[in-house]
Symmetry: D3
Subunit: 171 residues, 6 copies
């Protein structure tokens, strides 16, 4: 099976924050943003593997700057690493006040999707080779995030988490 | 400031999966579920602190069983731990096929919210004291999840993550 | 066929009033609330009979206190009486200003649903036996509401409405 | 204050049944229809009184024929009677299969609205004089429906319900 | 195949402008209005031909007066001319401030639809004969608009556009 | 006032076709697409002029290939010409079947927006200078489309439409 580049799976979404998307502060509600991120990330994963996908897990969404009513939401998704039958997607979000030509970082997140065959069973996905330095960093971090996920989910023993142990400089 | 119990912040939501909520497999899309989880969790955090809140981070949503079109979604949110100005909310989700009287676990997640004063600045929240054994376990885990969040976000050095080090049996 | 308790069919919904749900006074529009009530009541009826159901009639929705933008809507539905192939569902609605920890009665209503077999024809439903005093009162009133419905719909002669005649003390 | 005719308050709505409006049988959900009926009826009441209005009660919605996915919903609302500060609106609904040029009665209902002054308090509305025979019948029935509403809501004693007593031939 | 009158295809829609339909000026967004116009016009075309239809082109929507939040949108669609397998629909839109009993012209447009057979291929539609003077004018203009469409779309040579040449008094 | 390039106003949107966006053939409804096109085009015009804008007119939307349920919609908008207080935006739309890695042209359109000052009055916009050959062609055509618009709207005499006369080789 061929290997692919992160750029092959890039998806860009642009949305406008409407009244019904906001909380009482007039800021975009977190849940509405996650709705868009999930669609953007799922499309990215589908571009990588050419199969339908389902969301398997969501980690580390951090909300930095709120996006205001009437502002624009820019979402960019790209595969950060492909595993056997799953893919981690890295998502970055910016807000933009178009009238003041002012664009600002809003948040980032990692979503994991599983590729499915026509019977709804997991199927292998193409491997992915990072190109830029930043892509390499995201690729390396993906293993660490996966171990955190497995340990916290009770599916891996801390002693087997080689990547995490390295983080703590444990031999 | 008074201390509160987890039960004080319990919120229960029930939703029906409609056609527009589903993917091509006829299952509830992850993003739509996160939209509901965010509202349910925010209401729970607001019940705890009596202030408006904003989503600060989302960790470890794991999607176990898909929820089908026409099935019912049950969401239950409860504070798992209160920090200075933030609260971790524990969310559990079940699907239910009402016609077959069959209810199944779908997923769980942790959302963190920050309480805001009228100027939009973080404000202190009441402390929270767990009661049941399960609540105590969630309360303890909250510190661990917080350290993972801070380390992966580059805001804490691994050496300072005492809770995580304990996990790896490091002195 | 077994008999069931009102508690078996209890369904609780929680919704947040968003901008698009409100009228020019910033209050929840009646139609939006009825949309949620219908889903909540239909789920309750389905829990009682284990079959798909369709709305047959709606009676006596009275709107007492308006629910404000940003407040929470609590809806509770429970079967009040089962007839041959239909069920009357009693629905109560509260608003809640979560920030001020203030919960208030908003309205109540009775919806009637018919259970359907796979060909879309009415099918028998389990009987229902009230337990508490309040449930007994709702159970008794259901017959009266049914006769009002039939008379006003031209399907029953006033002289045959024994329950209503009792209300007027007619022999 | 002037008197008005039913025709002055006529409002006609046309909607298309989309996938998200339907239940598992592919028929329009009752709650979605009530959402449209409430808007149509509120507009009719506003045309009559020239003030903002709020839904006060809903009575006797009977669902006769289901409306299918892709069919058209025709809603017609007209004031049936004006009281002091409230108006009863009569609503009729038809479905139409445009491809087969087939139009069918679906249901009818009575909604009651209260007119509000700028402080949100009830304000007097113009009187209404029926013209056609059918309008006269609806006008007469309005009093009867109002008494049923008041008795069932515990706001009127059966002995004072002169209109209803007439229905049962009681002196 | 029979011929039809414009009145046979008349469709009237009434919608209320809700918060999520508006831009930052509190006016109805153009795109939301086009969404309603398309449904109204498609229904009109379907009434004329009794077949499913698809939007083929949209021309000359001019937005004259904005419609405010809380106002009512009136849309009226009627066939202006039938061609072989396509129909031009003329749409007029008014806004109405119901409280001030003030109705104003908002915009007009021409949509063209193609009738489809069950295999999704274009099929012939009944001819249409205008009755009033205004309908005759719209009927005549339809040919001109069609030629503009074809020329600008590169599907007709200016020299063949007899209707347009007449407009410029060219022999 | 500075001059700008078409690239300065480029906006890219990506949307997923969900069940409620489709007609009975399972294809994206024209009106839903126009809703997205209007938002994408308005954002493009706002990027050009840095002011709020309103839709002034829509011309020549031609629907070529339908976009299927579950496919992706790609919308790209860019200013084609700036006039005194208005801007013509050129919009191109592609569909994409992500699973089959197949992307196809769906339609194109021209929307015109007017820039508004804080009192809602038209205000001057920066000029725009095309760069590529294709941009020059769109720039030239914009004048022709404007004259068609003005003539068909009765705001210009055919004899004054110098651009259109040139199209017919009239001196």
């Amino acid at each position: 099976m061929e290997t692919k580049k992160p750029a092959d799976s890039q998806v860009i979404m642009t949305e406008l924050v409407l009244p019904n998307d906001t909380n009482t502060f007039g800021n975009l509600m977190g849940g509405r943003l996650m709705y868009w991120m999930d669609i953007c990330a799922a499309l990215s994963a589908m571009k990588h593997c050419g199969s339908p996908v389902v969301t398997a897990s969501v980690d580390n969404i951090s909300f930095e700057a709120p996006i205001k009513l009437g502002n624009v939401v820019h979402i960019e998704a790209k595969i950060s690493r492909a595993f056997n039958t799953s893919m981690e997607v890295h998502i970055r979000v910016w807000g933009e006040d178009v009238l003041h030509q002012y664009k600002y970082k809003s948040n980032r997140a990692y979503f994991t999707f599983v590729a499915l065959d026509p019977h709804g069973k997991p199927r292998p996905v193409p491997s992915m080779t990072p190109e830029s330095e930043e892509e390499q960093k995201l690729f390396d971090g993906a293993l660490r995030r996966r171990q955190v996920r497995l340990i916290l989910g009770g599916k891996m023993k801390p002693g087997d988490a080689t990547e995490l142990k390295a983080l703590f400089n444990i031999q």
